[in-house]
């Protein structure tokens, strides 16, 4: 009962149990953080808007994205993954979500940002439904913790519209 083997076993079991408990508490504490993120997206320019050879519409935009995601960071946060998606409806599809831009924010200081870029990922429709299309731009974020449960949420900004003709 007092051999090295038994003592090592007991110590190891206790250490692992305590570690698991601490991870669970750390994750649970994330539920209590007060989160007030804000964001604004402006479409500065429609660079071009064409129909591809396969028949799918494609559009290239320049976006101006301003966001303050600092309140999402807790002591248990490893990084925040933020992305902007265009969401719209067509006659064939009840929901289309196309990610236009994403970024990894590793620290709280970098979470208050302003960026002007053209879309990182191609905005391609399944079909040619984009002319005159109303769409929402949604800023999604995914909080990736140091341990435990991941949280995700979004801000929906509506009122954007694509031009009625190709250019």
């Amino acid at each position: 009962m007092h051999s090295f083997g038994y003592r090592a076993n007991a110590l190891l079991t206790f250490a692992v149990t305590i570690l698991a408990f601490i991870c669970a508490i750390a994750s649970f504490s994330d539920n209590f953080s007060n989160q007030t993120p804000s964001a604004q997206i402006q479409i500065l320019n429609i660079n071009w808007f064409q129909k591809q050879p396969h028949g799918n519409d494609e559009v290239s935009l320049t976006l101006n994205i301003t966001a303050d995601l600092q309140s999402l960071f807790t002591w248990n946060t490893k990084q925040v993954f933020a992305f902007v998606a265009a969401e719209y409806e067509t006659s064939k599809n009840s929901l289309n979500q196309v990610s236009l831009w994403d970024a990894i924010i590793p620290e709280k200081e970098e979470a208050n940002f302003w960026i002007q870029i053209s879309n990182k990922y191609r905005f391609i429709d399944q079909g040619h439904n984009l002319r005159g299309k109303d769409f929402n731009l949604t800023l999604h974020w995914h909080v990736m913790p140091k341990t435990g449960k991941m949280f995700a949420d979004k801000i929906v900004m509506s009122g954007y519209r694509l031009p009625n003709a190709y250019r």
């Binding site: 994750s27 992305f83 599809n93 289309n96 990610s99 990894i104 990922y121 999604h140 913790p145 435990g148």
Partner: protein
């Protein structure tokens, strides 16, 4: 002749009851582990409730050796969710993020395109030839929770099977030689 007599005596001296008790206790431990695993499968709705991250394509969020807890519901996949999927014909699950989602009006069928956070290009190159979208049946689950470093045990055991055999051998020896 004396030697045979000695062997027979030593075999008789192994207490059958104790041996059977040990065997049954071992069986109980193994089956209760199996019960917990199957119950987890039921609760989370996926065939593998826990996966180990094998590649660095989601760094710095998920590093090689982290484990992910999965959950699967009937809700359709939405952009931004981290999904674990199997490509037809390959048995290694891949953990990436959905960046494009197209959901059909009537059937609710969903086309999903994924990409690893740390990769420069989307996953079309990983899908089967001629496949441009992932569908519901490819996806095993969504990642909802995460623990760092714990998966290294599994990676080491599968890359160097010797260690697996050594561990199981040592455990077996411990069970047999313990005096309880």
């Amino acid at each position: 002749m004396g030697w045979i007599g000695e062997t027979v005596d030593s075999i008789k001296s192994i207490k059958i009851r104790q041996l059977l008790t040990q065997a049954i206790t071992l069986g109980m431990i193994v089956t209760s582990a199996l019960i917990i695993w199957k119950a987890l499968m039921c609760v989370t709705g996926t065939e593998s409730p826990v996966v180990v991250v094998l590649s660095g394509s989601m760094e710095p969020g998920f590093k090689r050796g982290d484990i992910l807890f999965l959950h699967m519901t009937k809700e359709p996949i939405r952009a931004g969710e981290i999904v674990v999927f199997n490509v037809d014909g390959r048995d290694i699950p891949i953990v990436h993020r959905a960046i494009k989602v197209h959901e059909r009006e009537n059937t609710g069928h969903v086309d999903v395109l994924t990409k690893g956070d740390n990769n420069d290009v989307d996953d079309i190159g990983l899908y089967a030839d001629g496949q441009f979208w992932l569908h519901r049946h490819h996806i095993m689950g969504r990642a909802v929770g995460f623990l760092p470093y714990v998966g290294w045990v599994t990676i080491i055991m599968s890359e160097k099977p010797i260690i697996k055999y050594i561990l199981i051998g040592a455990l077996g020896l411990l069970v047999i030689t313990s005096k309880d």
